[in-house]
């Protein structure tokens, strides 16, 4: 009887210990990546190659999504604002929504699905096909040579993608509000210019996207490096990357928003 009651507790305890152990292991891994980043800076062409894979190849999905999100914001914003006679403020609504929240968050979610999952799968497969072991046997540190450049490539790409998402989103809002519905173009742009603050809105949005970039890239690289070297292991690691990254983005977004915009 006692044993039957103790079993779930024991299982819960084991899961908690495993989770804490894994968190510690991931933190140590992240520390190693930072400590061994010298190669990434000495041979910056490795980072540029990763910026191409993580950033440039994600541009299509970022631009298309940004355009549609901006268009939806334009439509929804106009629909609501025109009831109060302030349809010209739709530019402000679109710009603030994008720079403060939707730009960094949606771009990071897309980045996690497109580039994060690819990083995990690539490193997991490199491990499964002994490419990582081969590198170690050739006296080349895989954390410095493989993980480091991907981390910095992802970190640099993320804010640029978020900026691109917001810019295209604003253009999408303009297309709907000004070109399609006929809101005054001057009012659209001037109200936006007056309302959007460089430090409170744009800079904070950039800070958010940098933090999301660190989180997504670190999670993706750790999951890939830690993946069991089997097809199932790589598949599970890729799924974990998308799920954990998405939750981390949303959780961090709340914390950062609370810190940045309290009292603003």
């Amino acid at each position: 009887m006692l044993d039957r009651l103790a079993a779930p507790l024991r299982r819960l305890g084991r899961q908690c210990i495993n989770a804490v152990w894994r968190l510690g292991y991931a933190s140590r891994f992240f520390l190693f990546v930072l400590m061994r980043s010298g190669t990434s800076f000495r041979r910056f062409q490795l980072v540029i190659k990763e910026i191409y894979f993580a950033g440039v190849l994600s541009l299509i999905i970022i631009i298309v999504s940004g355009l549609f999100v901006g268009m939806v914001l334009g439509l929804q914003g106009y629909e609501t604002l025109q009831k109060y006679g302030s349809a010209e403020a739709v530019g402000t609504l679109v710009a603030l929504s994008l720079t403060r929240e939707l730009g960094p968050v949606v771009a990071a979610l897309l980045f996690a699905s497109r580039a994060g999952s690819a990083m995990t799968a690539e490193i997991g497969l490199m491990k499964a096909t002994e490419q990582i072991s081969a590198m170690e046997m050739m006296a080349v540190d895989p954390i410095a040579r493989v993980v480091g450049p991907r981390f910095w490539g992802g970190l640099i790409s993320m804010p640029l993608l978020a900026a691109m998402f917001s810019a295209v989103g604003v253009f999408g809002g303009y297309l709907i509000a000004v070109v399609l519905i006929g809101v005054d173009e001057g009012a659209f742009w001037s109200q936006m210019q007056n309302a959007v603050d460089y430090r409170d809105d744009i800079l904070n949005g950039v800070i958010k996207s940098v933090v999301f970039g660190v989180a997504v890239t670190a999670i993706a690289l750790f999951e890939g490096y830690d993946a069991p070297p089997t097809a199932e292991g790589v598949s599970r690691a890729t799924t974990r990357t998308v799920v954990t990254s998405s939750l981390a983005i949303l959780g961090l977004d709340f914390v950062l928003t609370a810190l940045m915009f309290r009292g603003a």
Binding site: E136, A139, V140, R145
Partner: protein, 268 residues
């Protein structure tokens, strides 16, 4: 003759599962030595101990006089620059061309100008007969070609020790013979020492100088190719001639079939 690798009373366990139990082995300089045995008998683990990827739970592995488990990461990497390893399926970097795979170590570890790296890489590729395949990606190579490219990569820095993990696995008879010849000729041409982990008996007996036979984590016999061919030891005889009956049972141990099927009597 001086020994390049000395393995003294080495035991190793993955957590609580013992894999190697008191192994003693020497690999003289300039020789091609084979380690044979059934899958899972600890051959690859032994290679990893020699390469310093694993540390023995007891005993020591000495390479060129230095105990691998006592080396820090910098010293270990310095030692590995003098080693080459051919992995079971080549382990070529899939995002690099054949040429870049072979040039990889030269670019990582030397300050040679690109023109010299090009010449050296083409010479290595020529040695394995694949200079013409320099622009191909690993996905465009056959299994045998990938193994030859991996071999060219393993000898890129003219190592003192070359380790081969199942170099013959999954190859057609022609590729198998080509790889066998290359192992022997590259070893002699470079003045290197080679350790070949394999269970391909007939091919490896043609090219090696000495053989260690392992079973269940211990060395059961050792000798020259001729000694192994003529061995009367039941395990070696069964292994060399591929007999079904012998000390290695056909059935994995478990409950008897009759018992599993719910019948009266049983056999294991």
């Amino acid at each position: 003759m001086e020994n390049l690798v000395e393995i003294k009373d080495v035991s190793f366990a993955y957590e609580v599962r013992p894999v190697l139990k008191g192994i003693n082995m020497v690999v003289p300089r300039g020789k091609v030595v084979s380690i044979m045995g059934l899958s899972g008998c600890g051959k690859t683990t032994l290679l990893r101990l020699i390469g310093g990827s694993l540390k023995p739970t007891r005993g020591e592995v000495r390479v060129a006089g230095r105990a691998t488990h006592e080396l820090n990461q910098e010293e270990l990497y310095a030692m590995r620059r003098k080693m080459g390893m051919l992995f079971q399926f080549g382990a070529l970097f899939t995002d690099m061309s054949t040429f870049d795979n072979v040039a990889f170590q030269m670019r990582e570890h030397t300050d040679l100008p690109e023109s010299m790296i090009r010449d050296l890489t083409l010479m290595k590729l020529d040695a394995v007969g694949l200079r013409g395949a320099q622009h191909l990606m690993p996905s465009e190579l056959s299994g045998g070609m990938a193994r030859r490219v991996a071999l060219a990569r393993a000898v890129a820095l003219d190592p003192m020790l070359i380790m081969y993990d199942e170099p013959f696995a999954g190859l057609d008879p022609i590729s198998l013979s080509v790889i066998g010849d290359l192992i022997r000729h590259l070893n002699d041409a470079l003045g290197a020492t080679s350790i070949v982990v394999t269970h391909d008996v007939q091919e490896s007996l043609k090219i090696v100088d000495y053989v260690y036979f392992m079973s269940e984590g211990v060395v059961v016999t050792h000798g020259t190719s001729e000694d192994i061919r003529n061995s009367k030891a039941p395990f070696v005889h069964q292994f060399v001639w591929g007999e079904m009956d012998g000390p290695v049972p056909f059935h994995y141990s478990g409950a008897g079939i009759a018992q599993e099927l719910g019948l009266g009597s049983s056999h294991a």
